[in-house]
């Protein structure tokens, strides 16, 4: 295969050519209530070629690898059509050619039966926790990908990437129309071992669903809010991180102006990082899908914008260095600028210091969902507690936080000293490329004047 790819690239008539071939094996076990609703395996092989001709991109995606040469010609033709029309030809920032083979041993050769039996036991724990539990969702997925990447500049890489996730979900009902849920998640760049010993998590999911039946629905209005590390991590990824993706900015000078390096976004204690490798994390990517080596990138340092996330194209356009953030969710897509492991660095406040001077507030925990559109964001907390006179009060539900990114960053007044990272079970979505494995994290953070929607 290596010779075939190298020869095909050498024969390409485009100005720049790259080939990425992905071989993957997946498995999935899904319990819903008392039924095993999903038990499956998949094996896949596919490729994508990308050509640049006269500054225009052409891309071809295919499963039939015997057609590699024909697909290169097709991409070159498309690139020529684009190149002939463009007045702003694409350039790529220079990077050094790399040859490497990154291996990962975890995640292979666990029989499907073992996975099924383990999930069955977790499912049983959830269903047995309380007679109020009416349904469960135990959803296990793993994938082991081997990605071969080569380009016309001499880079040839093979990377093995494992990814395993587990959702332990419980649905509780009071029998009178009040239906609530609780869940726990595991997501790691590893194999089946990552999801062993999760019995306690299964119990917690079921207990939370039951407890949520008695939670109060929060009243709409403005609150001082403490976000737990997971929700704060989702916030920094969704609301701010996407703003730092240069492909979002580089063709829009007015947006780029808001995101000028040096602009102040928050308190001096605020530091935000996107990092390419932290052992065992889902967002890891030793080399990105343009063959650029990973690095640690400060997005915000001491409250000021420090850098953006780049592909080779955006780096060339904006006069920056590529940061190793060009990622594709699979062979069905070309790379676009994406995050990896993104987190707020630890500050100095203890949780006690954060909460004690809040008269009336909300402690919001974990994200149930979230969406952003430019500066506007909306997140629903999985669950929450009211804060009254500096103390944690009763449980709240239906807590949806919303606001303007810039106002909200400026309203972060305390950053905790207790950071942690989360892989979650889904992943990041952008530009039709969904469920890309990423990690988010943060310590607890406190934000003033957050709008919470309610009845």
């Amino acid at each position: 295969m290596e010779q075939r790819i190298r020869t095909a690239i050498a024969r390409s008539g485009a100005d720049y050519t790259e080939v990425r071939v992905e071989r993957s094996r997946r498995s999935r076990v899904f319990y819903q209530r008392d039924k095993l609703e999903g038990l499956e395996t998949a094996s896949e092989l596919g490729g994508v070629v990308r050509c640049l001709k006269k500054g225009g991109w052409g891309v071809a995606v295919f499963n039939d690898l015997t057609r590699l040469e024909a697909k290169l010609a097709e991409a070159e033709k498309a690139a020529a059509l684009v190149g002939a029309k463009t007045t702003e030809p694409v350039r790529l920032a220079p990077v050094s050619a790399i040859e490497a083979h990154v291996r990962a041993e975890q995640g292979r050769d666990v029989p499907l039966r073992r996975k099924k039996e383990r999930m069955e036991s977790y499912n049983r724990i959830i269903l047995a926790e309380s007679d109020k539990i009416v349904a469960s969702n135990v959803h296990y997925r793993d994938v082991f990908r081997e990605i071969t990447y080569a380009n016309s500049e001499g880079t040839y890489l093979i990377q093995e990437i494992p990814d395993t996730t587990l959702l332990l979900g419980a649905v509780a009902s009071d029998g009178k129309g009040n239906i609530q849920q609780g869940f726990e998640m595991v997501g790691e760049a590893g194999g089946f071992d990552m999801v062993l010993h999760r019995e306690e998590a299964a119990r917690k999911a079921a207990q939370r669903a039951t407890a949520m039946l008695d939670a109060r629905s929060v009243g709409g209005g403005q609150y001082t809010v403490i976000l737990d590390p997971e929700l704060a991590g989702v916030f920094i990824h969704e609301a701010f991180g996407h703003f730092c993706e240069a492909d979002f900015l580089f063709k829009n000078p007015r947006l780029a102006k808001i995101m000028t390096v040096g602009n102040e976004f928050g308190t001096r204690e605020l530091n935000v990082v996107d990092e390419g490798y932290i052992a065992g994390r889902r967002g890891n990517l030793p080399y990105d899908d343009e063959g650029v080596a990973r690095q640690k990138t400060y997005l915000i340092q001491e409250g000021r914008l420090r850098g953006l996330l780049h592909s080779r194209e955006t780096a060339a356009k904006m006069g920056a260095e590529p940061t190793g953030n060009a990622r594709a969710v699979s062979y069905e897509h070309p790379p676009i600028v994406r995050m990896r492991n993104t987190y707020i660095e630890n500050g100095s406040s203890s949780f006690e210091e954060m909460i004690r001077d809040i008269d009336r507030g909300v402690y919001a925990i974990r994200a149930y969902g979230g969406e952003t559109e430019f500066e506007q964001f909306s997140f629903s907390a999985a669950y929450a507690y009211e804060i009254i006179d500096g103390e944690i009060g009763g449980m709240l539900r239906d807590v949806v936080l919303t606001g303007n990114l810039f106002d909200t960053l400026r309203s972060i007044d305390r950053i905790g000293d207790d950071g942690s990272l989360f892989g979650g079970v889904g992943g990041c979505g952008k530009g039709g490329q969904n469920a890309l494995p990423v990690t988010v994290g943060s310590p607890h953070i406190r934000i003033h004047n957050v709008t919470i929607g309610g009845k």
Partner: protein, 441 residues
Amino acid sequence: MDSLLNQAKAKVDRAELYRLERQTTPLAFRTGQLESIHTKQIGGYALRVVWNGHLGYATTTDSAQPEALLDAAMDAAAFGERVSLALPGPRADRGARRYDEDLASAPMEELVALGEQVVAGLESGAPEAETGVFVTRGIDRVSIENTSGLNVSEDRASIEVSVEVSCAQEDDIFIVADSIHARSLATLEADRLVDRVLRNLRWGETLVPAPSGKMPVVFTPRGAIAVLFPLVFGYSGRSVYLGTSPLKGKLGEVMFDPRVSLVDDGTVVDGLGGGGFDDEGVPTRRTPLIAGGEVAGFYYDLRTAELAGVGSTGNGFKGGMLGGADFRALPSASVSNLLLLPGEATLDELIEEVGDGLLVDTVLGLGQGNLSSGDFSNNVAVAYKIERGRIIGRVKNAMLAGNTYRLLNDRVVGIGDCPEWIFGRLFVPPLALSEVNVAAK
């Protein structure tokens, strides 16, 4: 793969082979010019088997090794769920009405010209805005063969144009996104898409403070999805079977305003959600869900229908409640095309009727909130303030909250007469509701 089903027949009780061949051609135009052309040609197989009464499933892209696929599905079936899964038998083909040869064979240059036409329309109407225009042609061939003798295949072609227009100023970004699709180039109303986007941009030129409190809200078809989304969950036969739907046991009861009628209809050729058959080979049909306010039915795939002791309604699609996935996913209960039947008022009449309130076009966080209870809570992405029956400007940083079942019961002001396709599979008119909660910052 041709011999796979014969091999399967000899080894397992029942088997179904699903095959998808998909060619997609996405073109992207940014800042007024063609940015990229992709050509995607993917093909995959999904094999579902019942072996000794147990279910197994496997997928692959590799057509060269049918035995490996059968082995993988049987490996899973060795300890899979016990099912009966009666597969549909042979039937006559209804003919390929979702495939337009002119669209399928249109040269790349013609698709480029279509994108350029939309770009030009937007630029002449809104020269200051940043535009993104995306033209995507999709051609699918779906083939399903099973051991009960079913062997069907359908070609489906579609063209979609979506646009994203943004106007950015210091600390304020106004984005209008919209899309339109058709089964042929001749029937694609690209000008209407441009008009809609420009209309929204005009309405949004002035920024006004968002109101707060309980107020009447008019939803455009796109905005109405926020209200209707819990119904996609609530009408799923799966939710009803699991008891997570509030509609469980309510069949025949009046739960909604008599003007509300909701239908799932996979036979509608224009919708992208349907087909001659679903992803299990069951013929699609028209299933009333709400008939004049009354709970009239739910939608089912084969597996859920079996659990619930009813028949499939031809709603076994790959890709969750909204369908639309490729060969990889197992089919499950999913809407095909969901139609909220139109009323009689124009959008302008609805706006005039509510007097003072909001017009909501796009929300963030669709599907957030408690789908079981019907509570929704969304940030508005694009919304306008209505004063004395007229739109006076755009509002931002506001939350909407309400309960779908409550609002569609006794707070319906009116339903519009001009439905639009949203996500290619929801056909929805404008909707005016009273007493919706709005929380402004």
